[in-house]
Amino acid sequence: MGSYVTTLCKEITSTLSQLPQASPLKTLFFGGGTPSLLPPQYLSRIVDTLDQHCGFQCDAEISMEMDPGTFDKQTLKQFLGLGVNRVSLGVQSFNEDFLKACGRSHGLQDVYEALDIITGLNVSNWSLDLISSLPHQTLEHWEECLREAIGLSPAHVSVYDLQIEEGTKFGVWYKPGHHPLPDEDKSASFYRLASSLLREAGYEHYEISNYAKPGFQCRHNMVYWKNQPYYGFGLGATSYFNGKRFSRPRKLKGYADFVELCINQSSDNFSANEEYLSFYSNTVESVEDRVCDTIMLSLRLASGLNLNELSKNFGHELRVHICKSFLPFINSGHAVAVDSKFKTVPPDTFSTALSEQSASKVLKDVIFIRLTDPDGFLLSNEIISSLFTDLPIK
């Protein structure tokens, strides 16, 4: 653990020290694996390293993913002392059987203890993860689970479907859509139920799988969905800056070698630096990729695709083109056009505008197109891939 953190800190140092002027961080997120198992002194080293090289904005959001049963009050207290101000608790379910079914090592007892620790330490910005579409799960089970979650009044709730990955034991046991997993229709009704119950309870459904009380959206994750740049450090971490997406090696040895190379590069001359870039980094995202990223990510958000930004970045023609591609989905009620006053543009108006010569003029008024909740969100893949199919870019 110690040597991994050392390597990690080396990576942070070498990356940030290469930058002419690294601006203070607005958000920091510890996730992937189980960061709550990290001894506080190591966390301290990481935070210090970051502080040294770029610092934090005064209101920076520092989140940590924590799994029930992996931390005690003392640990969390120390984390908070080190600056962590948002906790994302991987509860998954409030049912002992389902907890087992989704392959979690923690039990219901662990869940309640973890919740006690969090409330006991007055953490106000905390999030709760739930998993639906578990084997044998019924709509009644799911409603119970959602109500239990709402009763605990977290600032934020994330709701995911059970993901059956090939090559895992789940992949061997279960086939998506087949018994005992719920079928597509049932799984859709789980999604609808979550959306309606949580919204009723005052949560904004601000992203396909995320709900938050006003002011408690996860600012870090918003960076991803707004397609903004971010650093990534550590094993398998992904970064997006200088227009490049890059995934670090997923194996410890590969990662250590990579960091070694980074260090050599940072002290070396420019040409060697180029070589490193060509070796490790992907090329800059193409226009097509950037358009696809923008569409795919922004449509995950309740606010939707910002057309003004789209034309600013990719030209006015694309804006008109995309509006046309959206037409069938707007007509079918899966998407909505919104004007500058945040008012919904009726489908008829939208469609008439598109068919007229003056399309561009009327469309100037449409600022956002967003997917509807829950109908549009539920079919977002279908809609996004249709938009991709229609893209004028080769």
């Binding site: 229709d185 859709a188 396909i208 992904t238 970064s239 539920l378 893949n381």
Partner: protein, 701 residues
């Protein structure tokens, strides 16, 4: 690419229980109405310049180099059994030298597929020194990939051999190969037979006579050919030459007392066959002094020399640089190149009555030098053409559409090129809302169709969707006109029709008696009308039915083969048109008719077909954002209906920083999938669904 690859495969392989049988059965198709054409001439260089000319440069337009190389090379003798044939090797070199007509023997080999024709032909070429062992590629006469894969001979070829008989005289033997199958083959076979005076009837001593063999024997008898029965494969443990000899005598009525027992593989009986040809096959009449008349029995297109015409000189003689005329097309040419096939092309200066050869005359398309046409001399025209020329009439039709609309131009070019070499192939542009632009193509029969499709995909790299094959219907309209129609979409409205006629065929199935019942059932299911049944031997029978051609263009042969465990064979001929109670069955997806899936079916079958098709489509069309009704309808009457419920959920739950590239890839893949779908109105139908339904249609319609 996966899906595309599957589509390719699907479009060429009809759905059958026993795919292996599928291609084999086809060779037994004989299609007497198919005429004047032959698409045997498809295969260009590789066929015509086989290994006899090592490295033959088909790119060298006029090839004097190639001509002799194979012939002069000293053959290597490995098989000591043929000590006698050492003699003929030396003679083999002289096979170009002229012999009097009395020493010419023109013969062909009639055999059922797998009965060993190719092996025997190879052996004859080897023993006469025409081809050395080293040059001998397995089965010389069918060296085209497609043929080999299917174990059939498509290409018709000829080989001139020199053989010094026991009487000490050198003879010129011309083997004219008949294609071992080809629906459709009737014309080719009949012209090839017409070019001969004799034929070897090769029958597998363990199997017996098959339907196709029989048909060709009758053809040979009609052409007054001397028939020499040969019982092949006598070395096999299951061989029963005596039984098969009796069978031939009983069925064909041929005297088999002098039938030759042979094993082409082991080289047994080869010498006897050669002697028998010399002794029994009559020499051609020496009519060299008459005006030129030569019968075209094959032709193919060579991109560098134009059409190469294979012919038999019946009267007169033909010289290089002669001005010649094709009597049916009326076109005139000058002979650029003249030669014999031995089996590669070898140039000569002149050919006389009785001889077999080839010529090139800068002919631009095989349509100008059709099989059955007569070549005469422009300067000294013959009074009358030889009989037997008929226009090619396509009997089976289907639509061919590129999967990728961008390939339409390529498809047109490919069809143009194929037509250069295949006078029987007809096509015209067709467009459909569901499939876009494509062509309606006419073929002589099913095998012809499959071969064309396969060549388009293999050689031209096209990815095609083919609609179910259909036949030509004749519609009597209320206004007293008769409309011929092969495309269901063009069928006149029910109100305008008085009746519809469809082509019927006479079908003869020869089968071991234990399968009689199941084959009769098959024929009945296919609207067959029983004609007669007779036992040809104690254990084998011939069953004759009349049934609609449309019922045969589907999977009839596959069924025949699979239901008889491969033992039955069949043969059919067109018997004419008859009225039938036919309707047009439309398939509607979300209310939109899917033109390519429309079918003309018998009224009694419409319901079952409609249900099968709608069910299949329901299985194959993925859920979409709205509910999709799928209906089968006759006119406005819906007879079967299914529906696909709307898609409920297709969403990626998690998409954070580390997921973006992967999720984008997934969505792009999904988008690619959409591009491969055809839009029918608002519904996206995967190509596979089309293919599967078309395949199903071939089965059930």
């Amino acid at each position: 690419m996966d899906i595309l690859a599957r589509i390719q495969a699907a479009s060429i392989t009809a759905p059958c229980l026993a795919p292996q049988h599928h291609h084999k059965h086809l060779q037994q198709l004989c299609f007497p109405m198919s005429t004047g054409h032959h698409f045997s001439c498809f295969y260009m260089h590789q066929n015509h310049f086989p290994v006899a000319m090592p490295g033959h440069p088909c790119r060298i337009p006029s090839g004097s180099i190639r001509c002799q190389s194979g012939a002069v090379e000293a053959p290597e003798m490995q098989d000591v059994k043929f000590s006698k044939s050492m003699l003929s090797f030396d003679m083999g070199k002289d096979r170009l030298s002229k012999v009097p007509a009395s020493q010419i023997r023109n013969f062909s080999i009639i055999a059922h597929i797998d009965h060993g024709k190719s092996t025997l032909a190879d052996k004859l070429l080897q023993v006469t020194g025409t081809v050395s062992d080293r040059e001998m590629k397995e089965q010389f006469l069918d060296n085209m990939d497609l043929e080999r894969e299917r174990g059939i001979t498509i290409k018709l070829q000829a080989a001139r051999m020199r053989y010094v008989a026991k009487d000490g005289e050198p003879y010129c033997l011309n083997l004219i190969d008949t294609p071992g199958h080809v629906d459709f083959s009737y014309e080719v076979v009949s012209r090839s037979l017409a070019a001969c005076e004799g034929a070897l009837l090769v029958v597998d001593a363990s199997q017996g006579v098959e339907a196709q063999t029989l048909a060709n024997v009758y053809l040979a008898l009609e052409n007054n050919l001397e028939i020499i029965p040969v019982l092949n494969k006598i070395d096999l443990p299951g061989a029963d030459p005596e039984r098969v000899r009796n069978e031939i005598e009983e069925i064909v009525g041929l005297d088999c007392s002098e039938a030759i027992f042979c094993s082409a593989k082991e080289g047994i009986g080869i010498q006897e066959i050669l002697e028998s040809i010399v002794a029994k096959v009559p020499p051609p009449k020496d009519t060299s002094m008459n005006p030129l008349r030569a019968l075209i029995f094959d032709s193919y297109y060579d991109p560098y020399r134009g059409v190469i015409v294979y012919f038999r000189v019946v009267d007169g003689s033909i010289k290089i640089h002669d001005k010649i005329q094709f009597m049916a097309s009326g076109k005139e040419y000058e002979v650029d190149e003249l030669g014999v096939l031995s089996p590669g092309q070898m140039q000569v200066n002149e050919l006389f009555a009785g001889e077999v050869g080839y010529l090139a005359a800068s002919i631009r398309s095989v349509a100008d030098a059709r099989v059955g046409d007569t070549i005469t001399s422009s300067a000294n025209k013959a009074g009358m053409a030889l009989s037997g020329y008929q226009e090619a009439v396509p009997m089976v039709f289907c639509g061919l559409f590129p999967v990728d609309a961008d390939q339409f131009g390529e498809l047109r070019e490919a069809l143009e090129k194929l037509q250069l070499n295949d006078a029987a192939l007809k096509y015209e542009p067709e467009s459909s809302s569901a499939m876009g632009f494509g062509f309606r193509c006419g073929f002589l029969g099913l095998l012809h169709m499959e071969i064309v499709q396969e060549r388009l995909e293999r050689e031209y790299g096209l990815n095609l969707i083919t609609t179910a094959p259909s036949v030509v219907y004749r519609v009597q309209c209320a206004d007293n006109t008769v409309v011929e129609c092969s495309n269901p979409c063009e069928l006149p409205e029910p109100g305008k029709r008085v009746w519809i006629e469809e082509p019927f065929v006479n079908i003869e199935m020869i089968t071991p008696k234990e399968y009689i019942g199941t084959l009769m059932e098959l024929a009945q299911e296919r609207r067959g009308e029983f004609k007669e049944m007779k036992y040809i031997t104690e254990s084998r029978a011939s069953v004759i039915y009349i049934l609609p051609l449309a019922e045969m263009v589907g999977d009839f042969f596959d069924q025949l083969k699979s239901r008889s465990k491969g033992y039955a064979s069949m043969e059919y001929s067109l018997s004419g048109y008859r009225k039938s109670d036919l309707v047009r069955l439309d398939i509607l997806i979300n209310g939109e008719p899917m033109d390519p899936l429309a079918a003309i079916v018998h009224k009694d079958k419409a319901f079952a077909v409609g249900r099968a098709l709608t069910q299949k489509l329901k299985e194959l069309i993925p859920r979409q954002m709205f509910k999709i009704p799928i209906q089968a309808a006759i006119g406005t009457r819906v007879i079967a209906s299914e529906s696909i419920s709307a898609m409920r959920k297709d969403v990626l739950a998690k998409c954070y920083g580390g997921d973006i590239s992967r999720k984008k890839k997934l969505l792009k893949k999904q988008a690619e999938g959409k591009k491969r779908m055809k839009s029918v109105g608002r519904v996206e139908v995967p190509q596979d669904a089309f293919m599967a339904v078309l395949r199903l249609e071939k089965e059930v319609v």
